[in-house]
């Protein structure tokens, strides 16, 4: 085993993740190379220090505030869904009424009517396309499966 190979495997050795055969080769090299022994000792110190690090546990008051933040979001979620659905329905109805009035009005030129209809049709196509893209991306996104575990 070369020193380069040793260095590459040193972390896995300390983590206990080397397969038996590689571990045996690793230890053979370790016994015969002073530089690698020093290298391993330094890496071991770093690894042990990292293993000792823990996140702070918040106090009761902090935890209460934290949970309140999550709870408020849970409640607001329903509010946002209702608000969005209501806004979409109202806007669609309003737009439909405006277009209907405009089409019936003989004073408005045909070109403008065609233009507005094309504008609305374009918006609908873009919206559907965007929605489809988001749904397809969500389906193939390799991270989305993680919520299913």
């Amino acid at each position: 085993m070369s020193c380069n190979e040793f260095n590459r495997m040193a972390g896995a050795y300390l983590d206990g993740e080397l397969p038996e055969e590689e571990r045996r080769r690793f230890e053979e090299h370790l016994a015969s190379c002073d530089a690698c022994r020093t290298e391993l000792a330094e890496l071991k110190r770093l690894t042990e220090d990292l293993n000792m690090m823990r996140f702070k546990e918040p106090g009761d008051e902090e935890l209460q505030r934290y949970w309140a933040g999550v709870y408020n979001r849970l409640e607001r979620g329903i509010g946002w869904i209702l608000l969005s659905a209501g806004a979409i329905l109202t806007l669609c109805y309003g737009a439909f009424k405006i277009v209907e009035e405009m089409i019936r009005d003989p004073a408005i030129s045909v070109i403008l009517k065609v233009g507005v209809c094309a504008l609305i049709a374009g918006l609908v196509v873009l919206f559907v396309s965007l929605l489809r893209e988001r749904l397809v991306v969500r389906k193939v996104d390799r991270y989305s499966r993680e919520v299913e575990r």
Partner: protein, 181 residues
């Protein structure tokens, strides 16, 4: 996993928000710390970890209560943090140092338990690593995941886990050496 937690999670699945409150409080510290490590900013970390809990609640029916909660939650949290990092990179509104938050204030190790000078320096060193390096250090050393578990969670081969960890630790050692000299 304790019997208590299984019972709590069953209640969560049945829609009991109070039970979810206990679960949230149990993991809040770890979740905020992990998000801080991934995002490099304690304020955004708090927000991201809360958002991840909301997503966990919305998907709780898909969670298998016989398996531990935190690994499942942590996968959701990683997604939330990755999305934020992507958004941040696109917007470029945050002043970045080597791809993460301002190390002078945001990486202050306030979220670390049992602090001492060496651990503070180590935390600052970790915060200076690139996003994938910080992520793999978090999974190995804070979440104590096996190489197999990390490989499965990140969708990469075990060999890549080994080499990425090796590179992350080497980069960390170089950073610490640079800081002490």
């Amino acid at each position: 996993m304790s019997e208590n937690e299984t019972a709590l999670l069953e209640r969560c699945r049945a829609g009991d928000r109070d039970a979810f409150g206990f679960v949230v409080k149990k993991y809040a510290g770890r979740a905020s710390g992990a998000a801080c490590l991934l995002l490099g900013c304690p304020h955004e970390a708090l927000d991201a970890s809360q958002e991840a809990f909301v997503r966990a609640w919305r998907n709780i029916k898909r969670f298998n209560t016989s398996s531990p909660f935190y690994p499942w939650y942590s996968a959701i949290l990683r997604n939330v943090c990755r999305s934020r990092l992507r958004r941040r990179a696109r917007r470029r509104t945050v002043a970045l140092t080597d791809g993460h938050g301002d190390s002078s204030s945001d990486s202050d190790p306030v979220l670390l338990a049992e602090r001492n000078e060496r651990r503070d320096a180590l935390w600052r060193g970790v915060m200076k690593l690139s996003d994938p390096f910080r992520e793999i250090i978090l999974m190995k050393h804070f979440h104590e995941m096996s190489y197999k578990g990390i490989a499965a969670a990140l969708g990469i081969p075990i060999g890549t886990v080994m080499s990425r960890l090796h590179s992350a630790r080497r980069a960390l050692r170089e950073t610490l050496a640079g800081e002490s000299s």
